[in-house]
């Protein structure tokens, strides 16, 4: 069934103006020419009292709501010129729908104005965010106290299952990333150290870098992308589906029931994963040392041991990772709990959880290093 293009003829007579519609008035057909014709006619038309009669030139024409919108719009424009639209020659169904639409038609709203923030506005926006964040953190500390007092709503089973999800389930990706980090560092280091004929110091380089910095940092970045994002998405969608509100109506604080087990799980698991990543990273270095540089495993391990005589090197990495775990957990949960009320806002929350976590991790790492240097532990 082919459609005939829309057409409109305007015939002016002494007493009336006839609008003759022809073709098929359906959504799938272009109507630019008709619109242009109407605009031209209306701009040239002089206000008059004559009636405008609308009719179809054949009764085979198809129509849908695009015709109704066209007619209603034209009627409004004609009435501003003092002309009256007469639809009585159109099919009954069209007339029914026109009167039905008129009954229901209200005033169309204007687009909402979204003002951009002035510098003063930004200051207040920022300060309200700060107070929101400090309230969140304060409530978290209080929830921790209630946990120590044995009054918390946190369930141990939740903590254990989240520990498994963010700890044991992350082992494959942590293994891959830290092994390749150790391997890459060994390759890069060997090229430089070869110039001084000191390639065995690759073992020192890899082990020290892994335990002091790279182990904790790589684990933290992986956890921010993997677990922090999942916390934000999970809590955010719970908020959208009013699950958090329903907890609240039962008198169960979301902070204790949802946030505390997640943050504690990361606080516990990140150092353990870091320790594991340190070992795997050193094994990555060992692989290059034995396979590419022809050291014996024993020789490599002895060199590693001499580099790590002071256990503080390992502890300092672990202390950092405790802080990183806490940052990831808190930021992920905060972004989830304070997500907006639509799915686009949820996406933004997840992105921002990852970006803010990684930024804070790097800043925190630098501050630890500065602090350790100042107190003479480096």
């Amino acid at each position: 069934m082919t459609l005939q293009p829309k057409s409109l003829q305007i015939i002016e007579s002494e007493h009336s103006i006839d609008f003759l519609l022809d073709g098929d008035w359906v959504l799938n057909l272009d109507s630019n020419i008709i619109q242009q014709k109407c605009r031209n006619y209306l701009s040239a038309a002089k206000p008059s009292q004559s009636a405008c009669k609308f009719s179809f030139s054949s009764n085979k024409s198809k129509w849908d709501s695009s015709l109704l919108v066209f007619l209603l719009d034209l009627e409004t424009k004609l009435s501003t010129l003092g002309m009256e639209a007469d639809f009585s020659k159109l099919p009954d169904k069209v007339q029914d729908l026109i009167s039905f639409a008129k009954d229901r038609k209200g005033k169309k709203s204007a687009p909402l104005y979204h003002p951009s923030l002035s510098s003063k506005g930004w200051f207040f926006h920022l300060s309200s965010k700060c107070s929101q964040w400090s309230t969140f953190f304060g409530k978290w500390i209080l929830a921790l106290f209630r946990l120590f007092l044995g009054k918390s709503f946190m369930r141990l089973s939740d903590l254990i299952s989240i520990c498994r999800d963010c700890g044991a389930a992350a082992l494959p990706i942590i293994t891959l990333i830290s092994f390749l980090t150790g391997l890459t560092m060994a390759f890069v280091g060997s090229v430089q150290l070869e110039k001084f004929n000191a390639t065995i110091y690759v073992a020192d380089l890899v082990s020290l870098a892994m335990v002091r910095e790279m182990g904790a940092l790589m684990v933290a970045i992986v956890m921010a992308g993997r677990t922090g994002a999942s916390f934000a998405a999970e809590l955010g969608s719970m908020k959208l589906r009013e699950e958090i509100d329903s907890l609240r109506t039962f008198g169960i604080p979301a902070m204790e029931f949802l946030v505390l087990p997640r943050t504690l799980a990361l606080f516990i698991m990140t150092p353990l994963l870091t320790l594991y990543a340190d070992v795997v990273g050193i094994l990555g270095g060992l692989t290059v040392g034995t396979q590419v540089m022809d050291f014996s495993s024993l020789h490599y391990f002895e060199q590693t041991q001499s580099a790590l005589t002071n256990m503080w090197e390992v502890y300092s990495g672990l202390i950092k990772s405790l802080a990183f775990g806490l940052i990831i957990g808190l930021v992920g949960c905060y972004k989830g709990m304070f997500t907006g009320n639509n799915s686009a806002a949820l996406g933004k929350s997840v992105t921002s959880a990852v970006v803010v976590s990684i930024t804070l991790i790097v800043i925190c790492d630098a501050m630890f290093e500065i602090f350790f240097s100042m107190v003479g532990y480096r």
Binding site: L3, D24, V26, L27, N28, L29, D30, S31, N32, Q35, K62, W63, D64, S65, S66, L68, V69, F70, L72, D73, P91, K93, D96, L97, F100, A101, R104, K105, G106, K107, K108, S109, A110, P111, L112, N341, N342, S343, A344
Partner: protein, 258 residues
């Protein structure tokens, strides 16, 4: 197009069997929906009404059987529904399912922008017209989370209407609406059916609505997991041979074992 329906049946379910994995939800479902009529799918909670609707709207492939529209079968051999057939209908989901990052005008305009040949102004006018039909004039620039549940549902109906489809599938349209809004929605269905000749397939268990809008109805059973009866609701209420259906439609509680 909406004003030239000739065939007597516009959609037909043929020997449908619907399963979720190994679990059979419905079997041996066959019925026809007459052009320009309103067919109501009734049944107790959990009897598979929404599942049947999912199958008829291309969201769930039946384990056996097919859904036949005037321009072809919905389900071919592939797992995906026939795209040409999809343009036949609009769907209103239970909770409205509006796109929350767009305002109402954009929600209704998007299908028009994608599939019609109209200009930007016309599309906006058309979208505003559809919103006014469902009583949402003045809400064009609001976002879905800013609306009440009932308003979201009506906006969902406006979006389902956007392309002037010959068939509309509505999943519990009046659930969660106040009596006035629910009555207005029923009026709208009757008016659209009369003026635009739209065929409705409605899943509902609101009795008032059923008697107001339905020309025809089918009743699904929880126990036999099949179609129990087919006919006009008023007749089914008084003279159905199944006591459960009479109980369901007259609210006398005889329908416990449905």
């Amino acid at each position: 197009m909406i004003n030239d329906r000739e065939n007597s049946f516009i959609v037909e379910a043929k020997d449908l069997k619907l399963c979720y994995g190994e679990v059979t939800v419905l079997k041996d479902i066959s019925f026809q929906v007459e052009t320009g009529s309103c067919m109501v799918i009734m049944g107790a909670s959990g009897c598979g009404k929404s599942t049947l609707l999912k199958c008829m709207t291309g969201l769930l492939k039946p384990a056996a059987g097919n859904v036949i529209f005037s321009n072809g079968d919905l389900w071919g051999n592939r797992d995906l529904p026939n795209e040409e057939v999809l343009s036949n209908f609009g769907v209103l989901f239970q909770a409205g399912a509006l796109w929350s990052s767009m305002n109402l005008l954009e929600n209704v305009s998007l299908p028009l922008q994608t599939f019609s040949q109209l200009g930007k102004d016309e599309i906006e006018q058309l979208a505003a017209y559809k919103l006014s039909l469902v009583g949402l004039s003045g809400c064009e620039y609001l976002y879905p989370p800013e609306l009440s549940g009932g308003m979201q549902k009506r906006a969902g109906l406006a979006r389902a209407l956007s392309m002037d489809p010959p068939i509309l599938f509505l999943d519990e349209p009046s659930a969660g609406l106040d009596p006035i809004n629910s009555m207005q929605l029923d009026e709208l269905i009757v008016e659209l059916k009369k003026s635009l000749g739209i065929t409705f397939v409605v899943v509902t268990h609101e009795l008032d609505s059923i008697f107001e809008i339905a020309d025809d109805a089918i009743f699904l059973s929880n126990v036999s997991k099949s179609l129990l009866d087919h006919g006009k609701p008023v007749e089914m209420k008084s003279s159905s041979k199944h006591a459960e259906i009479r109980g369901f439609l007259s609210r006398t509680g005889q329908g416990k074992a449905i």
